[in-house]
C-alpha cells in the first residue's frame, strides 16, 4: 500500500513533469515522424518518389508566397499606401565580415594620410604620369599582344625590352629618366600571369595575379580606343588597403580626363578581385512615356513629369579585359628580401568566405 502510495505520489509528481515532457516529446516525435528525410529511405524508387513530392511541395509553397507578396504590393499601391517593404536577398556582400579598416567619409586621418603618401604629388599637382612597361626575362605568345594593348589603354606609356637587367637596375634607370611608375608583365607558360606595379621614386610595389585575359581581337563588336585621356572609375575600394591600391591605380592615369573622348577605364573591386574593363560610352535619351521633352514644348510646360525621359548609357567594349588579385603590397620599391611588406596574401586568409581585404 505504502509502496503503491509512494508510487502514486511519485507518479503524480512525475506525471506533472512528464506531461510537459510528454507533450514536447509528442511534438518532437510527431515532427520526427513527419520529416522523414528522403535519404533515410533505402528503396530507390520510393525514395525518389518522396523526394520529388517534397520538391514539388516546396515549389508550390514558394509560388504561393510570391503571389501573396505581389498581391499585397498591388493592393497597397492601389490604396495609395506604401507597399510592404521588399525583402533584401542575403548576399555575400551583405554578410561580409565587419572590417575595422573600412574607410569612412568623415575620416580626417585618411585625408591627412592621402596628403602625405607617395601618390599625392601626382594626384594633386597634376604632374603627368609616365609609365614604363616591361616584361620578365622570357616573353612569348600572348605577352607582346597584351603589352601593345596596355600601351593603347594607358596614356603616356612606353615599352622597353627587358634584356637581362636586374629589376633594381631598371628602377634606377627609370628614376633617372623621370618615370612615375613601372609595370612589369610576368609571363608563365606562355600566358601573362602577373603584374607588378612599382611606383617611383619610392612608391609602393604591388604584385597582382593576372587572370582571364581577353584581348581586344577576341571581343565581339569591340571598339577602337582613341587617343583621348580616359576617365577612371574605381569601384568598391572600401578598406584602407583598398583605398591605397585604388590610389596607386589612379596614379597611373593623368588626372585631367577628356570627357569629349567618352572613354572610360574601370577597375571594379568585387570580393578582392579587381576587374578591368575599357569602354567607350554614349548617353542616350530614351522616352518611356509621353512626348519629346526637348525644344519649345519644354519651355511651355515647366513641370512635366508625365513624359518620363530616361537617360541611359550605352557601352561599347574596347581594349583588353582581365582580372587582378592582389598578392602583396610592399612599401618602397621592389625589394623582396629587405623590403617591408604592408600586406601579403597568406592561404590562411582564405578560410572564411565572407572576409575580404580590399
Amino acid at each position: 500500500m505504502g509502496a503503491k502510495r509512494k508510487k502514486s505520489e511519485g507518479e503524480e509528481l512525475l506525471n506533472e513533469g512528464e506531461k510537459e515532457n510528454d507533450k514536447n516529446n509528442e511534438n518532437i516525435s510527431k515532427k520526427m515522424k513527419k520529416e522523414i528525410l528522403p535519404s533515410m529511405i533505402k528503396n530507390k524508387e520510393k525514395r525518389s518518389a518522396v523526394h520529388a513530392k517534397l520538391k514539388h511541395q516546396k515549389k508550390v509553397e514558394k509560388r504561393k508566397k510570391l503571389k501573396a507578396r505581389d498581391a499585397a504590393e498591388k493592393r497597397a499601391l492601389e490604396l495609395g499606401e506604401e507597399p510592404p517593404a521588399r525583402m533584401t536577398p542575403r548576399t555575400i556582400e551583405n554578410t561580409r565580415e565587419p572590417d575595422e579598416t573600412v574607410c569612412r567619409p568623415d575620416d580626417d586621418e585618411l585625408f591627412a594620410g592621402n596628403d602625405a603618401d607617395e601618390f599625392s604629388s601626382i594626384l594633386k599637382q597634376g604632374c603627368a604620369p609616365k609609365i614604363l612597361i616591361t616584361t620578365c626575362r622570357f616573353n612569348s605568345s600572348r605577352g607582346p599582344a597584351f603589352i601593345s594593348e596596355l600601351l593603347s589603354v594607358i596614356p603616356n606609356s612606353h615599352y622597353y625590352k627587358r634584356g637581362t637587367y636586374d629589376l633594381k637596375k631598371i628602377i634606377e634607370y627609370a628614376k633617372k629618366k623621370d618615370f612615375t611608375s613601372i609595370i612589369v608583365v610576368h609571363t608563365n607558360r606562355r600566358e601573362p600571369d602577373a603584374l607588378l606595379i612599382i611606383g617611383l621614386p619610392d612608391g609602393p610595389t604591388a604584385h597582382f595575379k593576372l587572370s582571364k585575359l581577353v584581348l581586344r581581337k577576341d571581343i565581339k563588336n569591340h571598339g577602337n580606343p582613341t587617343g583621348h585621356i580616359p576617365e577612371l572609375v574605381l569601384n568598391n575600394f572600401a578598406t584602407r588597403l583598398g583605398h591605397r591600391v585604388g590610389r596607386l591605380i589612379q596614379s597611373l592615369f593623368p588626372q585631367s580626363p577628356e570627357f569629349r573622348g567618352r572613354r572610360v577605364v574601370t577597375f571594379h573591386n568585387q570580393r578582392d578581385f579587381i576587374f578591368f574593363r575599357h569602354h567607350r560610352y554614349i548617353f542616350e535619351t530614351k522616352e518611356s512615356k509621353g512626348s519629346d521633352a526637348n525644344g519649345k514644348k519644354a519651355k511651355d510646360a515647366k513641370s512635366e513629369k508625365t513624359s518620363q525621359q530616361k537617360v541611359i548609357t550605352r557601352l561599347q567594349e574596347c581594349g583588353p579585359r582581365f582580372t587582378l588579385k592582389l598578392v602583396s603590397l610592399q612599401h618602397g620599391t621592389f625589394d623582396t628580401k629587405g623590403g617591408e611588406f604592408e600586406w601579403v596574401h597568406k592561404p590562411e586568409m582564405d578560410t572564411s568566405r565572407r572576409r575580404f581585404f580590399l
Binding site: V102, H243, G246, Q270, D272, Q309, P347
Partner: protein, 332 residues
C-alpha cells in the same frame, strides 16, 4: 686478398647498382668516381688504388684509397684538404700522388680544374638575382578560379559602370557636353529669359556689340566644323560652367535660342565651344566666376574636403573620384 679483375667481372657483367646507362654512354653514379664514366680504370670499386676529388661546402678534398687499408672499409678513404689557390692545390696533388699511375693523376687534376670552374660560376650566379618559382597547390588554384567566376557574376560590371556614369552625369561632372535633365534645363532657360529681358531693356550698346560678336562666332563655328578642334577645347569646358550661369548671359541666351531652333547635341557642343573661344576677351571675368562657383559648390562639402581648397582646377578631379569612392563606401 684483393682481386680487382674478379670484382670487375662480377660488377660489369652481372649488375652494378651505380651504373646508369643512357643513349650516349654508360655512367657511374658512385660519388667517389673521378671521371664519372663506367670504365675498368675509372671504377672505384674495381681499383684497389684510387684517388678522387670531392667538395664539401665549397672546400675541395683529395681522397685516396690504397690497397693496404682494403680490409678496413671504415678507414678506407684518406682525405687531404686542398687550398683555395688552384696552383697550390695542383702542387699538393702532385705531392700526394707522386708515384701513382699517370692516368689517375691526370684525371684527378682534370677533375680539380672542372670543379674550380664550377665553383667560380656558382659564386657569380649567387650574386645575381634569380627568379624563384613559387608553386601554388592545385586545390588553391581551382578555388581561386571558382571564386573569381562568382565574383564576376556578382559584380554585374556593365550595369555598375553605367550606373556610375549616369551618376556622374547627374552630378554635373561633364559640364555642358550633354543635355541637362529636362527640369533643370527648363529652370535655367526661364532664368536666362528673364535676365536677357532685363539687360535688353537697359543697354542697347551692349546689344550692338553682342550682335557683332555673334557674327564672328558664326564664322568661327564654321572653321570648327572642318577642324578637329573639339579635343583642345575640352580643357576650356570647365570654364563654360561658369560662363553659362552668370555674366555672359547675352552670348548664352543666343546659344540657347539657336539650340531651341535646332535641338541637336552637336550644335550645342559647338555653341559651348564658341563660348570657350572667347576666354581671352573676358579672362578676368571668367576667373572670378569660377572662383565664386567653386566656393558655392565646395561649401557643401567643406567639412569633408578641407584639405583640398588650394588648386581648384586640379582638385576637382580628385574630388570627383573621392566622392565616387565614398559613395561606394556608403553603399557597402
Amino acid at each position: 686478398m684483393q682481386h680487382d679483375e674478379v670484382i670487375w667481372q662480377v660488377i660489369r657483367h652481372n649488375h652494378c647498382s651505380f651504373m646508369a646507362k643512357i643513349e650516349t654512354g654508360k655512367f657511374c653514379r658512385n660519388p667517389y668516381n673521378v671521371t664519372g664514366i663506367c670504365n675498368r680504370s675509372s671504377c672505384p670499386l674495381a681499383n684497389s688504388r684510387y684517388a678522387t676529388i670531392r667538395d664539401h661546402d665549397g672546400v675541395f678534398y683529395l681522397y685516396m684509397k690504397t690497397i693496404e687499408r682494403a680490409h678496413q672499409p671504415n678507414q678506407l678513404w684518406e682525405r687531404v684538404k686542398l687550398p683555395r689557390n688552384y696552383e697550390k692545390a695542383l702542387e699538393i696533388i702532385d705531392k700526394n700522388l707522386m708515384y701513382w699511375p699517370k692516368f689517375l693523376v691526370h684525371k684527378t687534376k682534370q677533375r680539380l680544374t672542372k670543379m674550380t670552374q664550377m665553383r667560380i660560376r656558382m659564386r657569380k650566379l649567387a650574386l645575381k638575382t634569380r627568379e624563384k618559382i613559387m608553386t601554388t597547390p592545385r586545390k588553391e588554384k581551382k578555388r581561386e578560379a571558382r571564386r573569381e567566376e562568382k565574383a564576376e557574376k556578382a559584380a554585374v560590371l556593365d550595369k555598375s559602370i553605367e550606373k556610375e556614369l549616369l551618376e556622374r552625369l547627374k552630378k554635373g561632372v561633364y559640364g555642358d557636353i550633354y543635355n541637362y535633365p529636362a527640369d533643370k534645363y527648363n529652370e535655367i532657360l526661364d532664368k536666362e529669359q528673364l535676365a536677357a529681358d532685363d539687360i535688353e531693356e537697359d543697354e542697347e550698346e551692349a546689344e550692338i556689340e553682342f550682335v557683332e560678336g555673334y557674327d564672328d562666332l558664326e564664322e568661327e563655328e564654321d572653321i570648327e566644323d572642318f577642324g578637329g578642334l573639339a579635343v583642345n577645347k575640352s580643357s576650356l569646358d570647365d570654364d563654360d560652367v561658369g560662363l553659362d550661369d552668370n555674366d555672359d548671359e547675352e552670348t548664352v541666351a543666343v546659344d540657347h535660342k539657336r539650340v531651341r531652333r535646332e535641338s541637336s547635341l552637336a550644335l550645342r557642343k559647338l555653341g559651348n565651344d564658341e563660348g570657350g573661344t572667347k576666354p581671352k576677351k573676358k579672362a578676368r571675368v571668367l576667373v572670378e566666376i569660377l572662383m565664386e562657383d567653386r566656393r558655392q559648390s565646395t561649401e557643401s562639402v567643406r567639412g569633408v574636403f578641407a584639405s583640398f581648397r588650394d588648386c581648384e582646377q586640379v582638385h576637382r578631379q580628385s574630388q570627383e573620384f573621392l566622392l565616387s569612392l565614398i559613395d561606394r563606401v556608403a553603399t557597402c
